[in-house]
Symmetry: C2
Subunit: 333 residues, 2 copies
């Protein structure tokens, strides 16, 4: 089994990064929960002509027969009374193109449906356009669960669309990749046909995918060696590059969830890396800037080590090839 993504616990010893009683430390609990990857769903409903929508990652399937799903709603949500009173809801599963929609519906915008394409669903709840799946539900039951209510829905209609899911994991938005032990597709391995391994045109793709996986793994190892979490590092870099951003702007710039950017900033403040700002605009302290610059130096040295011994002519040719692949297809680079 290729060790493409090393697991430091492979020796069989339990060495947590952190552990504790979640009743005593809600942030620890959230960070641990973030290790379970999820999609993102917008739950919508309409009741007496008023529409509500909340962004959740607590959606889960329950039963096939009857078809039941669930999600959890905070008692402090402004939409709580509407969802309690309504007769159903729709689950809108977001695609990778809809990170902006996720942020929009978790923001404090007054009329969240104003500038978003949607249609009324057949079963009474708004359906957002561009989603990857819709589940139109009647209320099945409400179950109290601590500071949230669990809403079970009987699914009246399920629909799916082409696309890739939006992911949320370890505080960050992302997309799914094929497992590194697999190729992204068997076509890319070159094992499918004996004559595939000979043409350069057909090796490049396979190699590009493998090299990406290897370099991703090495990058995350490098990050771990820095002793700083990925979300804290991203927030630090964002504020270094663009001083004066608000916390919401840092979240967008660093592709972090709202709570995660708050946690990251709390951590940066504790270490006196971020300056206090009366106007809510963020900047680094001298020590914050020094840390970021030291990280950059180590990152450059890391990159240099990876390409050490590769002739400069080959690196130039590789750069030309990759540039062509990036730009020729009409995709933004």
């Amino acid at each position: 089994m290729p060790a493409s993504i090393p697991s430091p616990s492979q020796d069989g010893i339990l060495q947590p990064t952190e552990t504790g009683d979640p009743a005593a430390d809600g942030r620890l609990f959230r960070r641990c929960l973030g290790h379970y990857a999820t999609g993102i769903a917008i739950i919508t409903a309409e009741h007496d002509g008023v529409r509500a929508a909340v962004t959740v990652n607590s959606f889960a399937s329950v039963s096939l027969d009857p078809p039941l799903v669930l999600w959890s709603l905070s008692h402090t949500s402004r939409s709580y009374p509407l969802f309690k009173a309504g007769r159903g809801f729709a689950v809108n599963v977001l695609s990778s193109a809809q990170m902006g929609i996720s942020r929009h519906f978790s923001s404090k915008v007054e009329d969240k449906f104003a500038d978003i394409p949607w249609s009324p669903g057949e079963f009474g709840s708004p359906l957002l356009h561009g989603c990857l799946a819709h589940f139109e539900c009647d209320n099945h039951s409400h179950v109290e669960g601590g500071d949230h209510t669990i809403l079970l829905g009987l699914v009246r209609r399920a629909s799916r669309y082409e696309g890739e899911p939006l992911l949320f994991t370890q505080g960050q938005y992302g997309v799914a990749s094929s497992h590194p032990e697999a190729s992204p597709a068997p076509e890319l391995t070159g094992t499918s046909a004996g004559d595939m391994g000979t043409a350069y045109q057909q090796m490049i793709f396979s190699q590009l995918f493998k090299a990406h996986h290897v370099m991703s793994s090495l990058f995350y190892e490098h990050r771990r060696d820095e002793g700083i979490s990925n979300s804290v590092a991203r927030a630090l870099i964002s504020i270094y590059d663009k001083p004066g951003l608000t916390i919401d702007e840092v979240a967008r710039d660093a592709y972090l969830g709202q709570r995660d950017v708050e946690d990251a900033l709390a951590s940066l403040r504790r270490r006196a890396l971020v300056a206090n700002s009366p106007d809510g605009r963020l900047s680094l302290t001298d020590e914050g800037r020094r840390l970021r610059e030291a990280m950059l130096t180590r990152w450059k040295a890391f990159q240099d080590r990876q390409v050490e011994g590769i002739p400069e002519a080959d690196l130039r040719a590789t750069s030309r090839t990759l540039t062509r692949l990036i730009t020729q297809s009409g995709f933004a680079a």
Copy 2:
């Protein structure tokens, strides 16, 4: 916003790939549910000296105060009586290195704990080693939900470890990548420091990540244009490459979930692409082989188009560079 992963519904019109009443079509319901990405968790418990473990992707957070989580257990599960009778359970969130563990605990092996490193947890449930997170729970409540029971746990201890989560989405195991609109890390964009864009050593990484995203998107577009779902394509290719595999072996080979490989084979049989095999060993019909070969031809043509106009010397140099990046780091290629 770069359209790195195109969404065919971006025009605002709802055009489902499929839609229907999930009460009438359980497979449709499962395929739609598969569009919501999840992690994978093994739920473990011990009661009267007997241990149980089930693989689920229905884990979800419920409440912060008190700390509650939930998951759903089928009434037909062999472990159902034990989980109902026990006083708690542990949630073991799998890392990307643990796909084999996921399969092991969803198999019919008699003593699932025999060859797997684990330790007894402080709160009575086994903890599997190498996981990304553990939630040690007392039973909070059981709620009936159709053909499943929803088990709510009060989390007594939460722990997290270094690593990347194992993902399950659209029937396939995978890993998370940074969002394509973001770089995998700000370090990789070359925007962090003005002097980074000049050295080839430091452009290669940024370009490699961008080229990977662009080529991934183009690959999935190509797959869609084939009019065949990803899991069906993977099963077809696996059986073409390795005739005589059992269905479990195809699942492993194609990185598909158990139900998804069953659905894919049902689809291949309906289209008479897979031959009937009394001994459970799978092979393609002539028509199945012809389809796979036609896909291969179109895939080669697609690859040729992507590199068209790039000088062969550059492609050779790129291939050399990527090979070096893949092999030098001690990672298996």
